[in-house]
């Protein structure tokens, strides 16, 4: 049976359908779930194997990106989320979803309700839409299994993706190997230089997971590279595989085998 994927939507979510498609293509069974359905108890998180908070502008990025939805999750879904994690079910946050997860405290520390990092305004002061190169760190987590040290192309499209935390927390994150994706330059080295690093993130962090490894957040959009012709230069490259798909396949594979 294909794993059931909860694609969580609310006002301003707008990458839900391509995320839906990506998980289905990867072998999952996607379902769009509005936060109202969870709040009213019509639907329970427990009915799903994977939770995704897709990209978009939840509540218009008002106050700060992802904040209003984070408040809603903390206020109304605390127990359900805790149960979900207890069961070692994966949670994925893409772009705005990553911002939401950081503002709930689930990333990077895995502590719901205790914010320990932020995705602040891009150093350029602007929304940036461009394809960038990412290196996948060597790690042992479910999302990128088999992809160690690979360099892939994905698009970013955000105005607030500048990962920041204090030195102690940063050292912890690095020591735990929680960083999964880093922005790299043309020589595949992590970079702080714009535009290869599109937002100025500390340690070129583009995506990371919590200490358990079951929660992943990333600013780039893997769901926008699920067909070869999504890549802007597919006409001049010999890429054979859409590079965003592997992440979704890994998650689905993990659920199927656990």
């Amino acid at each position: 049976m294909p794993p059931k994927v909860c694609i969580l939507r609310t006002d301003g979510t707008n990458c839900d359908l391509e995320t839906f498609y990506a998980f289905n293509k990867a072998g999952g069974e996607s379902e769009l779930v509005h936060i109202n359905q969870l709040r009213q108890g019509e639907v329970k998180l427990a009915a799903y194997h994977i939770l995704v908070i897709p990209g978009g502008f939840s509540y218009g990025d008002d106050i700060s990106a992802g904040k209003v939805l984070a408040v809603e999750l903390i206020s109304f879904l605390k127990e359900q989320l805790a149960e979900f994690l207890q069961a070692q079910k994966p949670i994925l946050g893409i772009c705005n979803g990553f911002q939401v997860l950081v503002r709930t405290g689930l990333l990077p520390a895995g502590k719901l309700g205790s914010v320990s990092a932020a995705l602040t305004a891009n150093e350029s002061g602007r929304f940036e839409c461009r394809w960038i190169k990412l290196k996948i760190e060597k790690n042992n987590y479910i999302f990128t299994r088999g992809l160690d040290n690979k360099v892939i192309y994905l698009p970013v499209a955000h105005g607030e993706g500048n990962f920041y935390t204090d030195l102690v927390a940063l050292n912890n994150i690095e020591a735990n190997g929680q960083v999964i994706f880093r922005y790299v330059d043309k020589n595949d080295r992590p970079t702080q230089t714009y535009p290869d690093n599109p937002n100025g993130s500390l340690n070129a962090i583009a995506g990371l997971c919590d200490p358990s490894g079951y929660i992943l957040g990333l600013m780039p959009h893997p769901e926008r590279f699920t067909e070869i012709f999504h890549y802007p230069n597919w006409r001049r490259s010999n890429l054979r595989e859409p590079q965003g798909l592997a992440i979704f396949r890994n998650v689905v594979h993990y659920v199927k085998n656990s």
């Binding site: 006002d11 359908l17 509540y59 904040k67 350029s124 002061g125 929304f127 839409c129 012709f229």
Partner: protein
């Protein structure tokens, strides 16, 4: 009620990109070097809660102590030499307030009754003067239409109330500079101080009877000039109608008729009887529609009747497109104007058939050059540098937030757009063929209004400062352009799609210009409709019934729904946080009946409303202007002229704009605006695969060339169409399956300009017939003449913007513009006469316009399109780029940039080298072919010539009669090409 102010600021060690961006603008756009630091902070005003609750919200919602700190009722920027707060004027809807209210409730704070948010700026540097601050406020930070500077009350920071701690002492170093020259026109005491309450009160105004029957001609015109904008003949027609009814009209009725008969809604000029040069011609709109009918294109499903034009896609799907202008609002308030422009055209798509999904957004702007001298900008007009940045920001924020990719567009510059810019926004959608026809309400169907609330937005002449307000009168700018609310519109879009999918929608339309009056009046035109106005959800109290009726508040849609299905529609809306109200029902009596709490405020026959207006007779004749025809010597320095052409506003790279638009959302983009080895080379059109997992593609492009229309509107218009289609064909589009949309943005069509308009329409008809491409949607905006002080009159160069869109069965059979490899042949395909240089960038740089403009041959052009399409469809083409502004030179350079490759070309001996390089005839292409392919095997039937080949060395080398004319490295050309928009949009960090 307590009103608390919370100020939030980043920790000093955290960057402040917004402040840096403002600083960059201050130093670069305004040239003020004495300000060296700008600090920003957010201000939140929260009413009705206790101090403890304010702290709670600050800690749990407004500030994150990992990177921010906050102050309650105290200044937060304490180390700047001047601090200024910029806030929305009261009554201007701040989209953020709804989120603040919601989040507070979600946190258990239920007594927040009103709130607002704004920005505070601190300025520091060696010398911060009041004059500089005023200039910064006026030019960069404050738009008086919707925003205001908020000063501290009696120079005391924070609010003084008995129940709260007074903050009367300021921290050292904190010194507010009160801007005393700003606003330029206003009095200093016009500055609003910090508000004591955010709640807007008001009582409803009564419906008035207008004594129209007793009015003489003068009185009729006085009434019209104030607010109706109808001419005497129309006013007489209304008067006669009410004489025949034996009563006087209500204000609501007069407003309804004026709105329905407005140029904006009825297109009087396009429907007028036309006498051109003393000879009667078929009305403009009819001519366009007849051309489309005559072509009888098999894919067209709906042309000129619905909110957008529709053609059949594949496997039961249809594609629709609509392009709108939003010039006037964007000129006054570019950010809000551009946002509501985008919002409006998206709603046109959402309101097509039984509801469509918006899949793309386009934007095309015409401004004066961004470096145009500020002192030459006419009174009351905004500087183009500001306009350009703010319009781009508006398009960005609406499209990005709604999740609609903006991936096709252009920017044109000409000084005569300095008073009246042109802002064009387009949108495209997808919907099932079986639900793609314009729905018709049936008697008994319910009229359901969904989406945003109704306020005084966009109502002409209305003011909100009256004695009926609270004792502390709050100034409300009633005619304010709104700040769009894309999240509201996204919710509405989702609700319509859900209802449409379940077959619950009989008909749908958007509330745009004219508000309910237009939407419900048109929807019920064939049946009649009865509306209960008091049901309309309002943003605030105090609106007269006629104001509710004609308000242009955004993000509202009207549905006609079978009563048996209404509950399901309401349930869908509720589930998606969309407000939905049954406003009335469609009847069978062909009357427009509007009541307000039982009182009839409007009772009109639909027949009179929609068919009672007197058809105009318009006379025009175009007289060709004569411009000086230059006789220029050959370029002395090729390097210089090539760089100047690449650097010209109409040629230069627009990449910094495109990077701020999300063009990849929805996961459908298969050819982005920029690609190539460094992702910085432009493509001619966008290609989308709107059905995920399928290879069926939509191609979207456009073309325009305003300055050519000044020389000759017929050939200028042909050029625009040839360019729009060439852009689509260059990426692989099939010319047999392309649809066209026309947008005329014209000076007021008096004599000469009406003649020009007539010629432009003739050109459209001729082009459609020659190519077989139908027009399926269009719009005209005929008011781009500026009349200022001292008899200053500025006409824009007439704009015909043509959008082309079509379908392709396989996205794999498309190409980009970047050169792919060395040793390829470069082939010029198409018919051009290089001496036709008038209107070119090359002439413009020399200070000329000329008369001899490109006269594109419509007998050859369709064959060229077909040949290019066939070659691409057969996978023979490596890269293709069409020739437009900047000529072959610009096209060739852009192809080289994209490939990190150079080119060696041979300029034919019989042609002047500068004409060969810089002629701008549209409908010609540069094609990259593998060296093994014989070009004549692909292009035998059309003019073509191999002009050179690609090389690995990154330079463009040109030979003439075997002598090297020039060899220019790419890097400086690229730098010149990228510089202008980097300077406008670069900000503090550039690539």
């Amino acid at each position: 009620m307590a009103l608390h102010e919370i100020r939030v600021i980043n920790h000093p060690w955290i960057p402040d990109p917004k402040g840096q961006d403002v600083l960059y603008e201050i130093q670069h756009a305004l040239g003020l070097k004495n300000i060296t630091r700008v600090t920003t902070a957010r201000v939140y005003r929260l009413e009705g809660i206790s101090e403890k609750e304010a702290h709670f919200l600050a800690q749990n919602l407004l500030a994150e102590d990992i990177y921010q700190s906050y102050c309650l009722n105290e200044p937060v920027i304490t180390n700047a030499m001047a601090v200024v707060e910029v806030a929305y004027k009261p009554g201007v809807m701040n989209p953020e307030t709804a989120s603040l209210m919601k989040a507070a409730r979600d946190l258990g704070i239920n007594n927040l009754i009103a709130c607002d948010s704004s920005w505070e700026y601190g300025f520091s540097g060696p010398c911060v003067t009041t004059a500089d601050i005023n200039l910064i406020l006026r030019r960069l930070l404050v738009n008086e239409t919707v925003e205001q500077v908020v000063t501290s009350r009696s120079s005391v920071v924070g609010r003084q109330t008995s129940e709260e701690k007074q903050t009367t002492s300021r921290p050292t170093g904190w010194k507010p500079v009160l801007p005393n020259a700003y606003p330029a026109s206003g009095r200093q005491d016009a500055y609003p101080t910090r508000p004591l309450t955010l709640v807007i009160h008001g009582s409803t105004q009564k419906t008035k009877i207008i004594p129209l029957r007793a009015m003489n001609e003068q009185q009729l015109m006085a009434l019209s000039q104030d607010k109706l904008f109808l001419d005497l003949e129309e006013m007489q027609r209304i008067k006669d109608y009410f004489i025949s009814l034996g009563r006087d009209p209500t204000d609501c009725e007069v407003e309804t008729i004026a709105q329905t008969w407005s140029e904006h809604c009825i297109h009087k000029t396009f429907k007028a009887r036309l006498i051109i040069d003393g000879r009667e011609k078929i009305p403009l709109l009819k001519r366009l529609q007849q051309a489309t009918q005559k072509i009888n294109h098999p894919l067209v499903r709906s042309a000129f009747i619905d909110n957008s034009g529709v053609f059949e896609f594949y496997q039961g799907w249809a594609i629709c497109g609509k392009v709108e202008t939003h010039n006037a609002p964007s000129a006054i308030e570019p950010y809000g104007g551009a946002m509501t422009g985008s919002g409006g055209v998206f709603r046109d798509i959402m309101g097509t058939g039984e509801g469509a999904k918006v899949i793309a957004s386009t934007d095309i702007f015409c401004f004066a050059p961004p470096d145009y001298p500020a002192e030459k900008i006419p009174d009351g007009c905004l500087h183009p540098h500001y306009l350009l940045r703010r319009v781009v920001a508006g398009v960005r924020d609406y499209g990005n937030r709604m999740g609609i990719p903006t991936n096709n567009g252009s920017v044109h510059f000409h000084p005569d757009f300095r008073a009246k810019p042109t802002v064009i926004v387009g949108a495209y959608g997808i919907l099932p063929v079986e639900r793609c026809h314009k729905g018709k309400p049936r008697p008994g169907d319910l009229a359901i209004v969904i989406g945003g609330r109704t306020g005084r937005d966009g109502i002409h002449g209305a003011t909100f400062s009256s004695g009926e307000m609270t004792a502390r009168t709050i100034e409300v700018n009633a005619s304010a352009v709104q700040i769009g609310h894309p999240i509201e519109e996204k919710r509405v879009a989702d609700a319509i799609l859900a209802a449409g999918r379940q077959g619950l929608i009989r008909a749908v339309t958007d509330c745009g210009a004219g508000g309910f009056s237009s939407a419900l009046g048109e929807m019920g035109a064939e049946t009649g409709v009865k509306i209960y106005l008091e049901r309309a959800p309002l943003k605030y109290q105090g609106l007269a019934p006629w104001e509710i009726w004609v308000s242009e508040s955004q993000e509202r849609m009207v549905l006609a729904v079978d009563p048996a299905k209404a509950d399901r529609v309401l349930a869908i809306c509720q589930a998606l946080n969309v407000e939905a109200i049954i406003m009335g029902e469609f009847t069978g009596d062909r009357r427009l009946l509007v009541s307000y709490h039982g009182e009839v405020v409007c009772s009109l026959e639909m027949d009179f409303l929609h068919h009672g207006w007197p058809q105009k007779i318009k006379r025009g004749a175009w007289r060709a202007p004569i411009f000086e025809e230059p006789d220029l010597p050959p370029p002395a320095k090729w390097e210089e002229i090539y760089q100047q052409v690449m650097n010209h506003g109409n040629v230069c790279s627009k990449e910094p704009i495109i990077r701020m638009y999300d063009h990849g959302v929805q996961g459908t983009c298969a050819l982005p605006p920029f690609s190539g080895a460094n992702s910085d080379a432009p493509n001619d059109a966008v290609i989308l695969t709107p059905l995920l997992g399928q290879r069926w593609a939509v191609v979207i492009s456009h073309g325009l060339n305003p300055v050519l229309n000044r020389i000759n509107p017929y050939y200028g218009s042909i050029w625009a169409m040839a360019e729009a289609v060439a852009n689509a064909v260059a990426v692989g589009a099939n010319p047999q399956e392309l649809m066209l949309i026309d947008n005329f943005i014209w000076p007021v069509p008096e004599e000469n300009f009406l003649g020009a308009l007539d010629l432009a329409v003739d050109a459209c008809v001729d082009f459609a017939q020659a190519t077989g491409m139908p027009f399926i949607s269009g719009k005209d905006s005929l008011s781009s003449t500026y009349r200022g002080k001292n008899n200053l009159v500025i006409h824009i160069p007439p704009v015909l913007c043509i959008s082309a869109f079509g379908r392709l069965p396989d996205v794999a059979k498309t190409v980009s513009a970047d050169f792919k490899k060395e040793h390829s042949q470069i082939v010029l395909v198409g018919c051009r006469n290089p001496i036709e240089m008038a209107g070119s960038v090359y002439y413009d740089l020399a200070g000329y316009i000329g008369n001899n403009l490109p006269k594109i041959d419509l007998t050859i052009l369709p064959k060229v399109y077909q040949a290019i399409h066939q070659a691409i469809a057969n996978s023979k083409v490596l890269a293709c780029h069409d020739i437009s502004e900047g000529g072959l030179a610009a096209a060739l350079a852009e192809m080289c940039f994209g490939g990190n490759l150079g080119a060696v070309i041979n300029i034919p001996a019989e042609e002047k080298a500068e004409n060969f390089m810089f002629n701008e005839t549209a409908g010609c292409f540069l094609v990259e072919l593998d060296q093994k392919i014989n070009p004549s095997s692909l292009f035998a039937d059309v003019p073509h010539k191999t002009i050179g080949h690609t090389v690995s060395q990154e330079e463009i080398a040109a030979y003439r009669q075997e002598k090297l004319l020039f060899a220019l490295p790419l890097a400086p050309l690229k730098k010149a090409w990228q510089r202008p928009m980097k300077e406008v949009f670069g900000g503090s960090i550039t690539a």
